[in-house]
């Protein structure tokens, strides 16, 4: 019976064969909403510039070209739209026909306590990825980044700035994997 070795060899050859490159994201840049949600009854504002730049760079690093949406455009809308579905629907309505991918990174920073001379903050991030079509449900990913600040005057923006490398890495990794499946 010679068939089993042949089948096994075929499997081995297939396993070692070079994989197809991941599918590229659509050519049109994805819309990126990078928001910092304050711990007060106030509209979200943009991420600190350095954090947003890091995020854009990281997303581009995984082949996802993005166009950041100005904070003035999304602040009031996101203030009243809290769920991923509401936010996705609003963004899709803004993007119009032929809407690109939608990437929403909403961060909030919570003070934890003073520990050994430092100020521990926890930055909670909600990553929302939505497809062009309004019929698809958004994908939501939550993660947290603990950061340690040195000065009392450093607040939410500084905490997000400090968390930016980890946020960028997490978002890029997740968004890259997600968009690769499109």
């Amino acid at each position: 019976m010679r068939r089993p070795p042949v089948v096994l060899g075929l499997f081995a050859a297939l396993a070692c064969a070079p994989k197809a490159p991941p599918a590229l994201a659509p050519a049109r840049p994805a819309l990126l909403v990078a928001a910092l949600e304050p711990l007060a009854d106030a509209p979200p504002r943009g991420l600190p510039p350095r954090a947003e730049a890091r995020l854009v760079e990281a997303l581009r690093g995984v082949g996802l070209d993005v166009a950041p949406v100005p904070a003035a455009d999304f602040g009031p809308a996101l203030h009243t739209r809290r769920t991923p579905e509401q936010r996705t629907a609003w963004l899709q309505s803004q993007a119009g026909d032929g809407a690109p991918l939608l990437v929403v990174v909403a961060a909030e920073a919570h003070f934890y306590s003073q520990i050994e001379g430092r100020l521990r903050w926890t930055v909670s991030v909600e990553l929302l990825l939505a497809a062009p079509s309004a019929s698809d449900r958004p994908v939501v990913h939550h993660f947290e980044v603990p950061v340690f600040l040195q000065f009392l005057h450093e607040k939410e923006d500084a905490a997000v700035d400090a968390a930016a490398p980890v946020i960028a890495r997490q978002v890029a990794s997740f968004a890259g994997a997600w968009s690769g499946g499109l």
Partner: protein, 495 residues
């Protein structure tokens, strides 16, 4: 590939790896640790020098702290809803294989336990009940927090916080920390105010007062034993003198007289930065009148006597001035942190014997950190320090210092220790630092591989197990050395 399939996989991926969003009832853990192997070939005990006046680096031992935070009601973004959390911290300086007690949990304590609630009744205000420790920043190179209040206090505080103003008021009891098993209530009240008129400048100040009431009948309340002389107290001869002066009435040692006790602390802070290469500069000042001690015990002719010392220990004052500046010398290539510290401890009750309550010290520490790559850094640190005992000799320069005492006369009945009133210490430290999170002198975690050297005019100026007696029957002999070398494999992290 169908769209449904295309989204099915990412969605499953997301659901599999996504932790739950912040919700009430969620627990979170934070903390800090440092651990090191610091072998030398000179009989040292794992530290380069005696204390962090020479910079905390290589002069502090292993330590760990874990703080649990439990969100009863999480603080929500885009909302001014009430929130509350419970905090519990356990910390201590014992680590397996790295300290003499090898990780014994007996070296740990529950240092913090409190509940915090915000937006309850008063907007922008957070109430805290339990332990109250608070400080405005720190001198990172020294691991010192001069602008600290309520470290020893359990009680309640309220913190009003806006973008440019921060006001803390608190009240409570410091008796358990100050008096331990000799507890008596020590009322404590105070506050901190921090204002930031412009982005580049910040001012702060505050303080606290402590009051221990006179309580007749309570053996642990403040008392004074009458007619006690300081020299007798220092020598442990109060009862012996009394017996000598009252040979027929030795059994009527004077009864203690109740009194009250007060102490206080004032702190000040100026911070500026955010311009040019200056990241930030912290200047701190604090003046503290220490709380009086309660009593000491003497044994005379087989019987124990308490000598109450409230009025003999109520003039101990500590002045601390400290500054630390962080400078970006070459952005993302080279940073500098430079700190200075001046301390003056005075004890108006004791002009006789050297002690930790009667000394001055000054020190400077400078650290350079160069970023060879984002994650591989070179660290160099140097420090110079001088400590002067106000009440005479306190340090031993030579192994036979007893023969080199003041005027060359052994001071057998006196109070001096050693042969000099001044200790001068220089330290240098250098090595490689691995910082996975990138550049920054204070970015952690850090994995450090360091070499440190110390020169001090004091003989064997580091923790050791040398036999110091010059008795002729000392089988181990004496060692005299000024230099101390240490290698350190260490890590430090906040999490």
């Amino acid at each position: 590939m169908s769209r449904a399939r295309a989204f099915g996989l990412p969605l499953a991926f997301a659901l599999a790896f996504a932790p739950a969003a912040a919700h009430a009832g969620r627990a979170d853990v934070g903390g800090y640790f440092r651990v090191a192997a610091r072998p030398d070939l000179q009989g040292g005990a794992g530290r380069l020098g005696y204390w962090n006046l020479y910079g905390r680096l290589l002069n502090e031992g292993p330590y760990a702290a874990v703080e649990l935070k439990y969100d009863v009601l999480e603080r929500r973004a885009l909302s001014a809803d009430p929130y509350t959390s419970l905090h519990l911290r356990i910390e201590g300086g014992s680590v397996g294989n790295a300290t003499p007690d090898n990780g014994s949990l007996a070296a740990f304590r529950m240092s913090q336990l409190y509940a915090r609630a915000g937006n309850v009744g008063i907007p922008h205000t957070t109430f805290q009940v339990g332990t109250l420790d608070q400080y405005i920043g720190e001198l990172g190179l020294y691991d010192l927090r001069p602008a600290q209040v309520f470290f020893e206090t359990v009680g309640a505080s309220a913190r009003y916080e806006r973008e440019r103003v921060d006001l803390l008021l608190g009240v409570g009891d410091s008796g358990f920390w100050l008096k331990r098993e000799r507890y008596n209530a020590v009322w404590t009240g105070g506050g901190l105010l921090r204002v930031r008129p412009i982005d580049q400048l910040e001012l702060g100040g505050g303080g606290m007062i402590r009051y221990e009431a006179e309580v007749r009948g309570n053996q642990f309340a403040p008392h004074d034993t009458p007619r006690v002389r300081m020299d007798d107290l220092l020598r442990g001869e109060v009862v012996e003198r009394f017996a000598g002066e009252n040979p027929l009435r030795e059994w009527v040692f004077p009864d203690p007289v109740p009194t009250d006790a007060r102490s206080w602390k004032g702190v000040g802070y100026v911070g500026f930065g955010g311009f040019g290469p200056v990241r930030w500069n912290n200047f701190f000042a604090s003046v503290e009148r220490r709380h009086p001690q309660d009593f000491v015990t003497e044994t005379f002719q087989g019987q124990q006597y308490r000598i109450y010392t409230a009025s003999l220990t109520d003039e101990r004052t500590v002045l601390l001035l400290g500054d630390e500046i962080q400078v970006r010398l070459w952005p993302d290539r080279l940073d500098l942190v430079w700190a200075g510290l001046y301390g003056r401890h005075t004890d108006a009750d004791n002009a006789l014997a050297p002690s930790d309550h009667a000394r001055t010290y000054r020190s400077t520490v400078v650290r350079l950190q160069a970023y060879v790559t984002d994650t591989v850094h070179w660290l160099g640190e140097g420090s110079a320090a001088e400590e002067v005992s106000t009440n005479g000799n306190a340090y031993r320069q030579y192994q036979d210092s007893i023969f080199r005492n003041t005027n060359g006369v052994p001071d057998v009945r006196g109070f001096e220790n050693g042969d000099t009133d001044t200790r001068v210490t220089f330290q240098g430290k250098t090595g490689v630092v691995l910082n996975p999170l990138g550049p920054g002198v204070y970015v952690r975690p850090s994995l450090r591989f360091l070499y440190g050297v110390q020169w001090s005019n004091q003989n064997n100026a580091f923790g050791n197990s040398f036999v110091e007696t010059i008795d002729q029957f000392n089988a181990f002999g004496n060692v005299e050395q000024r230099l101390h070398h240490v290698l350190s494999l260490e890590t430090e992290a906040w999490f």
